[in-house]
């Protein structure tokens, strides 16, 4: 599959799919905004966003450190056109089933192109200082500097 090759970070997480000063009325609104970021870069068709909410209702994608990674179900993979991530930052936080979420990363995955980026995100979240820097980022340059892959 051609989708398995690694894309550069700026293509996988395009500037057009990053919003750093959003606010949301609740979890589902936040997921819809993360989905809209994926839709904006043509990575999904609109039906995928409902699958993201379905998935969240069955299993939470809250990761800790104020970060959630909403994504669809296996059944919705046909709605995915390419591997991509979106990032929506909520400086005032969103009540995410009782957790305080500051950043939602929407994920659309067809192949494995997004795995290096998720690995790097895991590395950032394991380091409390880097996780805080990501929550406090105000420019896309800061985001890219933190998420640029250090290995693989």
């Amino acid at each position: 599959m051609s989708d398995n090759e690694s894309k550069p970070l700026t293509e996988l997480l395009a500037e057009a799919s990053i919003t750093l000063d959003a606010s949301a009325t609740g979890r589902d609104d936040a997921i819809r905004q993360a989905g809209a970021g994926l839709l904006a870069v043509g990575a999904i068709d609109a039906g995928y966003i409902d699958a993201m909410i379905d998935r969240e209702n069955s299993v939470s994608t809250f990761m800790g450190e104020g970060v959630a990674i909403p994504h669809g179900t296996l059944a919705a993979k046909d709605s995915v056109k390419s591997d991509a991530l979106s990032m929506v930052k909520f400086p005032d936080g969103v009540d995410w089933d009782g957790n305080d979420v500051r950043i939602a990363f929407g994920i659309a995955a067809k192949g494995n192109g997004h795995i290096a980026l998720l690995s790097q995100l895991a590395t950032v979240l394991m380091d409390p200082e880097k996780a805080e820097a990501l929550r406090d980022a105000t420019t896309v340059e800061q985001v890219y500097a933190l998420l640029e892959s250090e290995d693989e």
């Binding site: 069955s58 990761m63 994504h71």
Partner: protein, 102 residues
């Protein structure tokens, strides 16, 4: 209750619903923590967990499904992606070669 001998773990599978996001991140973290222990860490959708797995790590509400897919393979359920006590206990058992119960 499953008894796990940490020294016998060679293949650890992190399973989630779609194998798309959450399991990828935990697998990547575990891969780093267990790199020195000769353990293969892979992520997989619950429905297609490979039968040669030595242990499966999955979210609590997927644990029953995982047990149905690979009967006989110990399943360690977790709640938190970062800093879950069950995952920490498993990692420690593998690193030290201890036997633990879940």
């Amino acid at each position: 209750m499953a008894t796990i001998d940490g020294s016998s773990i060679k293949k650890l599978i992190v399973a989630c619903d779609a194998g798309m996001g959450s399991s990828v991140m935990l697998a990547s973290t575990l891969k780093k923590q267990l790199a020195k222990n000769g353990v293969t860490v892979e992520h997989s959708p619950v429905a297609s967990i490979p039968s040669d797995a030595d242990v499966v790590v999955t979210q609590t509400n997927l644990a029953e499904r995982a047990r149905g897919v690979v009967p006989g393979v110990p399943v360690v359920p977790f709640m938190l992606f970062l800093g879950d006590p069950a995952v920490a206990k498993l990692v420690k058992a593998i690193q030290n070669g201890d036997t633990v119960e879940f």
